[in-house]
């Protein structure tokens, strides 16, 4: 098994303007996702949702502090999951089932050191 990080990139405006019903739906989708990972042949090791980018602070070169995310993009990193999967195909199957209605996800293998 190998570890993969699933990074969720979404348009924050989508959530900013979402009704409570939509937010409930999204929470539900994440619950369904979490409980379905093992059926796809992988294991969920962890994951968090992040506060939106207006709350971000960046530190460049170890000193310069700026208000905002490291890179300004329309779709921002808003959360992640860490999974254990036997291969990329399984990790991609998990990624396809990951909710991200206002954007998409990126799958990155976690580096291993011997």
């Amino acid at each position: 098994m190998s570890k993969y990080l699933i990074l969720i990139y979404e348009d924050e405006a989508g959530y900013a303007t979402a009704t409570p019903e939509v937010m409930n739906e999204v929470m539900q989708e994440h619950d369904t996702f979490s409980s379905g990972v093992e059926r796809l042949g992988a294991k969920l090791l962890g994951g968090e949702a992040l506060e939106p980018t207006p709350t971000a602070t960046s530190v460049r070169g170890g000193s310069e502090v700026t208000d905002g995310p490291f890179v300004e993009t329309k779709e921002a990193l808003g959360g992640y999951y860490v999974i254990d999967a036997p291969d990329l195909d399984t990790a991609l199957a998990v990624a396809r089932s990951c909710p991200a209605r206002f954007g998409g996800v990126e799958v990155r293998p976690v580096m291993t050191f011997d």
Partner: protein, 423 residues
């Protein structure tokens, strides 16, 4: 056994390289679980054949000989490298293979499973971009050197080496499995493989840049790959359709240019010199491929090529049938380029004015902006309608947008034939 003439051996090795490379490599990857090591071992096996076959004779089944030699070499390499191996192993699913501890894999060569579909499916994994898929397929499935692959796509050898290295590294690090995808994913993967083979063919059939119209080597490689897929997936209608399309299109190879290198239109080509064997084979495949519902895009493209191939003269061309096939093709594969070709067919079936009307609907398509064939098709219809000034502008545009010298020369002649601009 008597010594064999070295040129006969060289020819036999070259022939085996063309026919057997993919099988030998695919079988060796199972043992090494590492693409680079497998490639080295297979190269060694071919180099060994050059020497061994001279003294011991050319084996009756060169592929089996090479497979055994490459796998034996792989087991040796693995035994010696075991400690230092830092590579992530390739994920070989259900690969129950003798481990490096076993002295020799004495499984008879004819019992080694055909893993070529795994190999080509891995090369065309959707996690790799199209240029990487194409490069890996040429390198690993066709056995071309990095320099040859670079030449095929007119990029520098270092650029191509970087592309291939990156793709191989991604396969290992992201753990793309070496397997035939499960049934649910197979059609999509086969689509990707066919797209790669088709791209190779079109690149060879009319090279995007340069002095020659055709890159014969790429055409032959793509037809070879399509034949291999046909053997591996004999019931897949898209595979039958693609092989048919390549055969029917390539059947005209001898007649596409005049002796001086000038481009000849379908209209001017000497149909008696078309390859009848290829047309017969292609037409039979089209009939088979069209039985699938809905028909695949390749089956329909091949059917269009078959109408031309089976028409005794240009004047006999059944343009209504061709337009009808383009309508079906648009339904399964809506694309501005298909719509462009349909408009050209409409121009023949219903007259230039109708063709131009169908073409002008497409003028806002971003995919056709800067596409030389669009301007060329427009120019031709305008010329037929006697709208000379507009035709001249469209030809001028087409000349600027065309990278292939033979095609550019053709367009320049057409432009010249319209005479100088009035006023």
């Amino acid at each position: 056994m008597t010594a064999v003439d070295s040129s006969a051996v060289a020819a036999a090795v070259a022939d085996a390289h063309r026919r057997e490379w993919a099988f030998v490599l695919a079988a060796t990857v199972r043992v090494t679980r590492d693409l680079d090591v497998a490639e080295e071992c297979v190269q060694d096996a071919f180099a060994g054949a050059l020497v061994d076959w001279r003294t011991r004779g050319i084996p009756s089944r060169p592929g089996a000989w090479l497979t055994t030699a490459a796998r034996r070499r792989a087991l040796n390499v693995l035994r010696h490298r075991k400690v230092e191996t830092r590579h992530l192993p390739l994920l070989v699913e259900d690969g129950v293979e003798p481990g490096p501890g076993d002295l020799v894999d004495d499984r008879p060569a004819d019992q080694i499973p055909d893993d070529r579909l795994r190999l080509v499916a891995t090369c065309c994994h959707p996690a790799l971009d199209r240029p990487a898929q194409v490069a890996l397929t040429l390198r690993l499935v066709c056995g071309l050197s990095t320099a040859e692959v670079a030449r095929a796509f007119l990029v520098s050898e270092s650029t191509m080496a970087a592309r291939i290295t990156r793709a191989k590294k991604k396969i290992a690090v992201a753990r793309i499995p070496y397997r035939v995808p499960p049934a649910a994913e197979l059609p999509d993967r086969v689509d990707a493989v066919l797209a790669v083979v088709h791209l190779l063919f079109t690149t060879g059939h009319t090279t995007p840049a340069g002095a020659d119209l055709v890159r014969r080597d790429l055409v032959e490689r793509s037809v070879g790959l399509a034949r291999m897929l046909r053997r591996l997936l004999p019931h897949d209608p898209a595979v039958a359709g693609l092989l048919a399309l390549l055969l029917l299109t390539d059947a005209r190879r001898e007649t596409r240019t005049a002796p001086g290198g000038r481009l000849l239109l379908l209209e001017e080509q000497d149909r008696s010199r078309w390859d009848r064997t290829a047309i017969t084979e292609g037409a039979a495949l089209v009939r088979e491929a069209l039985r699938a519902r809905p028909p695949t895009r390749y089956a329909l493209q091949a059917a269009i090529a078959a109408v031309h191939a089976e028409s005794p003269t240009w004047g006999d061309t059944d343009w209504r049938e061709i337009v009808a096939l383009y309508d079906l093709l648009t339904a399964v594969w809506p694309s501005p380029v298909v719509a462009l070709n349909r408009a050209v067919a409409v121009g023949f079936a219903q007259g230039a004015a109708a063709g131009l009307a169908a073409l002008d609907v497409l003028s806002g398509e971003p995919q056709l902006a800067g596409y030389g064939y669009f301007s060329a098709a427009r120019a031709d219809l305008l010329r037929k309608l006697g709208r000379v000034d507009e035709a001249r502008s469209a030809y001028e545009e087409a000349v600027l947008l065309t990278g292939n010298a033979v095609e550019r020369d053709f367009l320049a002649r057409r432009l010249q034939a319209l005479g100088p601009r009035q006023g």
